[in-house]
């Protein structure tokens, strides 16, 4: 019969099933509807039926909820009993999940944090940093620069209507000294022009954000810094002595910066207080500023950067080796290929690596759960059989086991949520962030709930399908219907595959780090104290200081130089003639030392001689090249050459007096570049080589000498090897995180293995008993049980190796100097996995092997 109810209502009502009286509601309504429409007309009847359908639907939904509530109560009871009955396995099961979910939450929170960088700025999507590419000058092997010229910002704002606002900042190379009565400290700050706070939405606590940085000699402090200097007094209008050069008036206080912004500063000084800026703020050749602009939304980035090129050509002249580009604010945190980049950055690839690791760990713990649940099904076959006989259909069993796993996941997710805070505390220390875990944050709760649902369903689905599919007859006999063993083996393979992958990655990263650290970099970095020269007094008196220092006990050598290894200028592109008279265009890095420079840093002179005061000419134009420079030029007799040079504002005639061995002045990420060493006129650093004994006494002697010549500046220094170690901070973080995660992965995998072997042993108790009666020995029994697992682990290895090799090969590409991934690493990781697996299962297998067969066979 065709439905006489209109459209959707008939369809809906037919679907509803109130207490197994399937069509009752439908029939009754149909009858009444027909009568109604005859009486009042179709239109009214239509409204009537809609109204009724909605009401019935409401009733039905309520009914469903009520019913499932009752059902869930029962499931909960059964699950609870099961969990309590198998305390050990439940613990392993839930513990594995807790570990996995905690890791996952922590990493996802970290990634979320990384992506939240600078999002709080009002015009986030339209703020850009103007960057440039300078193809003739490279620094640390990179020729993209984050810094631009001071007149760029006003020019852009003036010429282009697309620009809403443009701001400039200028960064101090080192922390600057602030003084206020007894307060004396080096603090981190920047110069910023009056548009800075209009472009960025950093909060201002006191003062006017529009005018606070307008006047020269104004300073704004962060809330923390203001409290540190002025305690409880009102800072506005107070005067602070800056760098012992100028007195600055406090015009405002800004809120402490959040951790997720790419700029780091504790105070802001108006840009027009900076003396060089006052002198040459309109110079197009000065590149120490960072330019930020807000564009109208919808402006084309490519097109606008071409416009900047044009502007530059008009104002300065055509320069084909210069290109400007716009870097969106959202990219600043993730792009590491800029020089003079003041931003806090992280390579996007590392973010991906961490994300993948997070998912892998979660996957291992899910597999763990699936494996243990199906293994446990061996024990529960009778229960399933009885349930089926008593009339439970497959759907009901399915939902029962699914909800059982959901309950366990819920417990795990709940515990993981609470653990995430203390774990984040440690994680923060490794990765150098201050990520706060707020339990009541909606996005965190949403994350936990979605992780709970996903893991619960993924981990519960397979066991639920397997368990509910048993045929009742076999189930009661104690035989599971389908043999799920191959799937389970597959899961063990995946688990160990992931663990081995992580172990290999960890080993490669550690190996590469060791390689970098131990590689002969060509200069001495041990026991070298470097004092940066900031004060004119020190610069003027550097010869006196040097002589004074040399008389102190513990001081072995002193060098006053313009550059240092790790503290270099960039490379200039230059053109020289080779032996054949051809022009060679290449990039060369200039260094500025003194007569003791080569001795102090133990640079090895391979040909010719080092600088010496005996030669008058050395003051004028003697230079020393490195091997790469010589090779690039292809000179046979370098000492006969005299050539013109022009770098860094210095020009003149140069004569090569010596060749030094190649040294790694930068990190191992870059190739050794041609290098030229001059006798320097300026002194930026005083390096002191000290004896390794009694360092503290030597340091106090150095401080004493320093204080005699510098009144204003506190003694400030660093050890060269500390600076060196900072080069590889990112890689070290990666190494640390990988080692923790691979430990966790193998730990979770072993938890699963432990549970699995226990079940295998249990199901083979009788077999073992019979074997022993028939004369097999303990060793045979142990190898019988464990050989299968070892075979699985070996298979896992073979799958994991190529993947690990591929990933790590990609990672190593970042380094100019790298290890070859040796087979030793793979063998080591395999042995590690096997050993750990053996320890995990040996306890159970040996127990099974030495058990008295009488025990296991006496019941039959």
């Amino acid at each position: 019969m065709n439905s006489r109810l209109p459209g959707l209502t008939g369809w809906i009502l037919k679907k509803l099933d109130f207490y197994n009286k399937k069509y009752a509601v439908y029939d009754d309504l149909e009858e009444e509807y027909c009568g109604f429409s005859e009486k009042y007309g179709v239109y009214k009847a239509f409204i009537w039926i809609i109204l009724h359908t909605v009401m019935i639907l409401g009733e039905y939904i309520f009914l469903i909820l009520y019913r499932s509530g009752i059902m869930f109560k029962n499931y909960f009871k059964i699950s609870y009993r099961n969990i309590v009955r198998n305390k050990g396995f439940s613990f392993i099961n839930i513990f594995g999940l807790i570990t996995g979910i905690t890791c996952f939450i922590v990493i996802i929170l970290f990634i979320q944090y990384e992506y939240s960088f600078d999002k709080f700025h009002e015009n986030y999507d339209n703020i850009y940093r103007v960057t440039k590419t300078y193809s003739d000058y490279s620094y640390q092997g990179k020729n993209h620069y984050a810094s631009t010229m001071p007149p760029l910002a006003p020019a852009l704002k003036e010429e282009f209507p697309e620009v809403i606002n443009a701001a400039r900042i200028m960064v101090f190379p080192v922390n600057a000294l602030l003084q206020k009565r007894e307060f004396r400290s080096f603090e981190n700050g920047i110069y910023a022009d009056d548009n800075f706070l209009k472009v960025f939405s950093y909060g201002v606590a006191h003062g006017d954000r529009n005018t606070a940085l307008t006047e020269p000699n104004s300073i704004m402090l962060s809330v923390d810094l203001a409290n540190k200097i002025f305690k409880n007094a009102d800072p506005i209008g107070q005067v602070i002595r800056f760098r012992d050069e100028a007195d600055l008036k406090v015009t405002g206080v800004f809120e402490n910066l959040p951790g997720n912004t790419h700029l780091r500063f504790d105070f802001l000084i108006s840009l027009n207080s900076y003396p060089p800026f006052i002198r040459q703020g309109d110079s197009w050749y000065w590149m120490d500023h960072h330019t930020y602009i807000i564009l109208h939304s919808g402006t084309d980035r490519e097109e606008f950067s071409r416009k900047i090129d044009d502007l530059f050509a008009r104002r300065v002249g055509n320069r084909s080796n210069y290109h400007f580009d716009l870097q969106p604010l959202s990219n600043i945190h993730f792009e590491t290929h800029y020089n003079y980049n003041i931003a806090v950055t992280i390579d996007r690839r590392y973010i991906y690596m961490y994300t993948v690791t997070a998912f892998l760990i979660l996957m291992i713990s899910c597999i763990n759960f699936m494996n243990l649940s199906t293994a446990r099904s061996l024990k529960r076959t009778k229960e399933i059989g009885i349930r089926k006989v008593a009339g439970a259909n497959r759907k009901q069993l399915f939902s029962q086991y699914l909800s059982e796993s959901l309950i366990q996941t819920l417990i795990a997710a709940f515990v993981a949520l609470f653990l995430s805070k203390p774990v984040m505390f440690f994680f923060n220390r490794i990765i150098d962030r201050q990520i706060e875990v707020n339990y009541f944050d909606t996005s965190l709760l949403f994350l936990v709930v979605s992780v709970f649902l996903c893991t619960g369903i993924v981990a519960g689905l397979y066991p639920a399908v397997i368990l509910s599919s048993f045929s009742p007859l076999n189930a009661i006999k104690g035989k599971p219907g389908k043999c799920s063993f191959s799937v389970r083996n597959g899961m063990v393979v995946v688990q160990f595959g992931i663990s081995i992958l992580l172990i290999v990655c960890t080993l490669v990263v550690q190996d590469q780090l060791r390689f970098i650290r131990d590689k002969d970099i060509g200069y001495n970095r041990e026991h070298v104290v470097v004092i940066p020269v900031r004060d004119e007094g020190i610069e003027r008196d550097h010869k006196l200081i040097k002589d004074a220092l040399l008389t102190k006990s513990g001081v072995l050598n002193v060098s006053c130089s313009g550059t240092l290894p790790l503290m270099q200028y960039g490379g200039y592109t230059t053109t020289l003639l080779n032996d054949l008279g051809e022009e060679v265009r290449f990039r060369i890095v200039p260094g500025y030392g003194d007569f003791d420079f080569i001795d102090l840093f133990e640079l090895e002179v391979v040909r010719g001689r080092k600088f010496s005061e005996e030669y008058q000419k050395d003051h004028l134009g003697s230079v020393i090249l490195n091997e790469t420079a010589l090779e690039t030029l292809g000179w046979n007799d370098p000492f006969s050459k005299e050539f013109d040079f022009s770098f860094n504002g210095r020009r003149g005639k140069a004569r090569v007096v010596g060749i030094i061995k190649d040294t790694h002045f930068w990190s191992m990420h870059t190739q050794v570049e041609p290098y030229i060493l001059f006798i320097g006129r300026e002194t930026n650093y005083i390096s002191v080589k000290i004896s390794p004994f009694n360092i503290s006494k030597t340091m106090s002697l150095i401080e004493e000498t320093y204080k005699k010549h510098s009144k204003a500046f506190p003694f400030d220094y660093f050890f060269l090897d500390d600076k060196f170690n900072q080069l590889y901070r990112t890689e070290e973080k990666l190494g640390a995180i990988f080692s923790y995660f691979s430990c966790l992965a193998i730990f979770i995998a072993c938890l699963g293995l432990f549970g699995l072997i226990a079940f295998t042993v249990e199901s083979k108790t009788k077999e073992i008993g019979i074997r022993k009666v028939l004369g097999s020995n303990e060793f045979h029994i142990v190898s019988l049980i464990s050989s299968e697992f070892f075979r699985l682990i070996l298979v896992a290895n073979i799958i994991a190796w190529p993947i690990a090799f591929f990933i790590m090969d990609k990672w190593l590409e970042k380094f100019a100097y790298k290890i070859n991934i040796s087979p030793g690493i793979f063998i080591l990781s395999t042995l590690t996995a096997l050993l750990i697996a053996f320890i995990t299962i040996s306890f159970q297998t040996i127990k099974a092997a030495v058990a008295n067969p009488v025990e296991s066979l006496k019941y039959e």
Partner: protein
């Protein structure tokens, strides 16, 4: 045995009154007529199910009827237990209302 709710009592009474024609449509319509309240089928079948579970009514399927398009009606009838419940409800009703005149709550009443 638990007490009947007001709605249950009314439906049970209606089933008894309708005798051989106690199924969804007349039950719902009579109920609305008496109380002036709208009762949807969802709620009606819920009440019927509860009473069936308590053993107050039983449901039977009628012969296919032309009026219903050849389908069966689900007919309800009151069981013995149902009758006891009705009886009890009636007694409670009587006891509670004993000695109160029909006009006691009229507005122009003097009491």
């Amino acid at each position: 045995m638990s007490e009947l709710t007001k709605n249950e009592e009314l439906i049970l009474l209606l089933i008894w009154r309708l005798k051989n024609d106690a199924y969804g449509v007349p039950l719902r319509q009579k109920f609305s007529e008496i109380t002036g309240k709208m009762l949807n089928y969802g709620a009606l079948y819920n009440i019927l199910y509860q009473m069936e579970r308590k053993g107050l009514v039983i449901s039977t399927e009628s012969k296919p009827e032309a009026k219903k398009g050849g389908r069966r009606k689900i007919l309800y009838s009151v069981t013995k237990q149902g009758l006891i419940s009705l009886k009890k409800a009636q007694e409670i009703q009587k006891m509670a209302w004993q000695g109160i005149s029909d006009y006691a709550f009229d507005e122009n009443s003097n009491e």
